[in-house]
């Protein structure tokens, strides 16, 4: 039971910082018990003052420092002990310190995922588990995806399929890896001609599919009240064009990201008055990328778990 509670925090966490990349799909091993709920509120602040134009890291004084703030609400629910439903909905605000372009704010994409445990068994000094997640995300406001880098998101449906493999030692140390394929649809833009390594006569832009990887190493401390984790996230578009020199990005771009991070999580399990509550905090930084702002993110959130 406690493990599940803990794990739901992890889930919340991964959603929170993946939201900066619009890859909000659960990538951990956590599952709620049947008829259990977890609700969470998360705040994420990401910023960059350099971006990768193709593979070249550069600055642009007409953007200066770009910032993206997100407040995300999340609900997870145990349909059965082995199958969970997870939904997230972020409100996002973007702005830049340089230049005269106006930032935007609004609700981005609703993401719904179903996660199931396929395998969980004691092997040697710990447990090995394998889970799979199917996710679907869709824009819920009429934000414009063709207003990069300010756009709230890619403005298209995204389907994802993810496999998660974890080995957890009985002493609390664990290693986890996840790999996902993200299928992105097309995004409707407000013009019917654009350039993507050649002319396109369409109001639709193809948003490249992507591969998404995560791996983490972590452990619990202080009688399982505090957890710390180091992690890596990778994203690779499987197609797409590069941002042209001094030109704006667009949803067709080939995006690559390598990001490292840490997080800490505390569970108030010994304080009766706030039983069921937890708190998380994290930091991450992109160390390599392509057609992407070099984001540095931090975030925190509160979670509350209960059973009906």
């Amino acid at each position: 039971m406690k493990n599940h509670l803990i794990r739901i925090f992890l889930l919340v966490l991964s959603i929170a910082y993946l939201s900066a990349l619009k890859a909000q799909t659960p990538s951990d091993d956590l599952l709620m018990q049947k008829r259990e709920f977890c609700v969470a509120l998360l705040y994420d602040a990401g910023s960059w003052d350099q971006y990768w134009e193709g593979a070249r890291l550069r600055s642009n004084a007409n953007i200066g420092t770009f910032s993206k703030k997100a407040a995300t609400s999340m609900v997870a629910y145990g349909i059965t002990n082995k199958i969970n439903l997870i939904a997230t909905l972020p409100y996002i605000q973007t702005e830049a310190t340089g230049g005269q372009l106006k930032g935007v704010g609004g609700i981005q994409d609703l993401n719904i995922a179903i996660k199931g445990e396929i395998f969980n068994q004691q092997v040697g000094p710990g447990k090995i588990s394998f889970l799979a997640t199917g996710g679907f995300g869709t824009p819920v406001s009429n934000y414009l995806s063709d207003y990069q880098p300010f756009s709230l998101g890619l403005g298209t449906n995204e389907w994802s399929l993810r496999g998660i493999l974890q080995y957890r030692f009985d002493n609390g140390i664990y290693v986890r890896g996840a790999a996902a394929h993200l299928w992105r649809g097309q995004t409707k833009v407000e013009r019917n001609f654009y350039y993507n390594n050649g002319a396109y006569y369409s109001q639709w832009m193809d948003v490249p599919n992507a591969l998404n990887y995560n791996c983490s190493v972590g452990t619990w401390l202080f009688n399982s009240s505090l957890k710390i984790e180091a992690n890596y996230m990778g994203l690779r578009s499987t197609s797409g064009d590069d941002i042209r020199i001094y030109n704006s990005p667009q949803p067709t771009n080939k995006v690559e990201v390598d990001q490292v991070g840490f997080f800490a999580q505390y569970y108030f399990k010994n304080i009766k008055s706030i039983h069921g509550f937890g708190a998380i905090a994290y930091y991450s930084k992109m160390i390599h990328g392509r057609n992407m702002g070099q984001f540095q993110n931090y975030g925190f959130g509160i979670t509350y778990q209960f059973k009906i």
Partner: protein, 512 residues
């Protein structure tokens, strides 16, 4: 076990729907069509640059009964008997009115090269160099003035070349291969147009040479395109080799005439050195008490083509004749009304207004507003089944009017040197990037009104639609936060006024 099945079913359910993506066209879906008329008297129309239809001389064709012709005809039949599906696709691509594709190619190249130079590390800005086009920033930077000019020369050369071709077509009356030998089934709709010289070859050669001059780094690509266009005319069974050769002579020669004008029209001096730019700015400050300043970081020291207003016009004798009146003084009541409107609009921008701003934006890395109007024009050419000659005439008059509109707009812009909203209104933010030139008059409005005026003359049934588009293009700049309403209104009036000169000339060219 049951859980696993539920999971699999739900996941598959989520993945369902991936197959509903739209096909993204990389070119317009033009097909060949039967021409509404063949303009038998087209050879007598008045050309723009040539002294007359017979200024360019081609040899008289051999009789269709000659051995030479028979050999050429056999080659056509041989090629047609072994066409691959790739060859058939190319034939279909070019259609029987290659004006459409060459215009499309010009728009694509304009888009490709429409990227503004980035600053150097020391904060200065490099300028493209025509003498060294491959060095960053690549030549050309095909901004709206550059693009409207490229399109004007392209269309004028095509038009004059086709007047010349029509003259010889009806002088020599050589039949098309499928009329000489009725075992030949042409790939395109049959026409009563004589085949010598090949109008398609005129268009291919003229377009190739004009576009090579305008986009020198694309030389190989353009040569390959022209060769493909020409060979398709034989594969389609509409021309023999000597039709092509004669057409290619006209195309090459008319391009030379057009490029001679281009070489001395003043465009080379349009992008001025800093000192000239500063003196133009100082003159405006002295005359009116205001000046536009670039707001980028680092500041671009010279605006876009300050002397484009001095480039030789096609149909307006003196640019001052179409210079717009003095705009409201910043801080005046009229100015404040315009500022208030901008602030209200940006504060409460509707989705519809945002769409209009983006739809007409046609900014960097696009075919620019002149390109947008060329796209409209092509759709009308197809709708009204214009033959190549009449298509070229439409585009020539429209693109001359659009270029003249650009010249008059730029003259007005740098004469008044009027500040943009982001300069005049503290803290003002926009949803469109503000271009690197003064505000008054609006280029979009001027280009669009000129395009609309010529298209309204050629296609009276479409006049209402064209005027609506021009008005919307003008308004779009206000929604985008980069123009005051008076920039847009004055631009519309200016573009219309300029286009009247082109329309008046067209009315007397013999085509009516």
């Amino acid at each position: 076990m049951k859980n696993k099945y539920i999971f699999i079913v739900l996941t598959l359910g989520l993945l369902f729907g991936l197959s509903c993506e739209k096909e993204l066209l990389t070119r317009a879906d033009y097909t060949d069509y039967a021409f509404a008329g063949i303009d038998e008297k087209g050879g007598s129309w008045k050309p723009i640059l040539l002294s007359g239809a017979s200024q360019i001389v081609i040899p008289a064709p051999k009789e269709v009964t000659s051995d030479e012709y028979k050999a050429e005809l056999n080659n056509v039949k041989l090629a047609m008997s072994t066409l691959s599906s790739a060859q058939r696709e190319k034939i279909a691509y070019w259609t029987n009115n290659p004006i459409l594709r060459w215009n499309e190619i010009a728009l694509e190249l304009s888009t490709k090269y429409n990227l503004i130079p980035e600053p150097n590390a020391d904060g200065s800005y490099p300028v493209p160099d025509a003498a060294n086009p491959g060095k960053y920033p690549l030549f050309p930077y095909s901004h709206p003035p550059y693009t409207c000019r490229a399109l004007a020369y392209l269309s004028v050369a095509q038009f004059d070349g086709l007047i010349s071709a029509w003259n010889y077509k009806f002088k020599y009356n050589r039949k098309a291969p499928y009329e000489v030998d009725n075992s030949i089934v042409p790939a395109y709709a049959k026409t009563a147009l004589p085949a010598y010289p090949a109008d398609g070859a005129v268009v291919a050669a003229a377009s190739r040479d004009i576009l090579i001059a305008m986009f020198p780094l694309e030389k190989d690509y353009l040569i390959a395109k022209a060769n493909e266009n020409m060979v398709c005319l034989t594969w389609a069974g509409v021309n023999v080799q000597s039709d092509l050769d004669a057409g290619a002579i006209i195309g090459s020669e008319v391009a030379k005439v057009a490029l001679q004008r281009a070489g001395s029209d003043g465009m080379k001096k349009a992008q001025t050195p800093r000192a000239v730019s500063d003196s133009i700015k100082a003159a405006a400050l002295n005359r009116f008490g205001w000046q536009w300043d670039n707001q980028e970081t680092p500041t671009r020291p010279v605006g876009l083509t300050p002397l484009f207003g001095k480039v030789r016009m096609w149909n307006v004798p003196m640019v001052e004749e179409v210079r717009s009146p003095v705009p409201p003084k910043p801080g005046s009541a009229e100015f404040n009304v315009a500022v208030q409107e901008l602030q209200d609009i940006t504060k409460n921008l509707t989705i519809e207004q945002r769409k209009i701003a983006n739809w007409w934006s046609d900014g960097l890395n696009t075919y620019t507003p002149p390109g947008h109007w060329n796209r409209f024009a092509k759709n009308f050419l197809i709708k009204y089944k214009f033959n190549p000659l009449r298509s070229a005439r439409t585009l020539a008059y429209m693109n001359m009017a659009i270029m003249d509109a650009g010249i008059s707009c730029w003259d007005t812009k740098y004469y008044y040197h009027y500040p943009r909203p982001i300069q005049a209104i503290p803290g003002f933010k926009t949803i469109l990037g503000t271009p690197n030139f003064p505000a008054y008059t609006s280029g979009h409005s001027t280009f669009s009104a000129a395009g609309a005026e010529v298209l309204s003359y050629i296609f009276p049934e479409e006049a209402q639609q064209c005027q609506t588009w021009a008005r919307e293009a003008a308004e779009s700049r206000i929604y985008g936060g980069i123009h005051y309403r008076f920039d847009a209104e004055a631009g519309l009036a200016q573009g219309k006024k300029v286009a009247v000169y082109a329309v008046n000339r067209a009315k007397k060219d013999g085509a009516e």
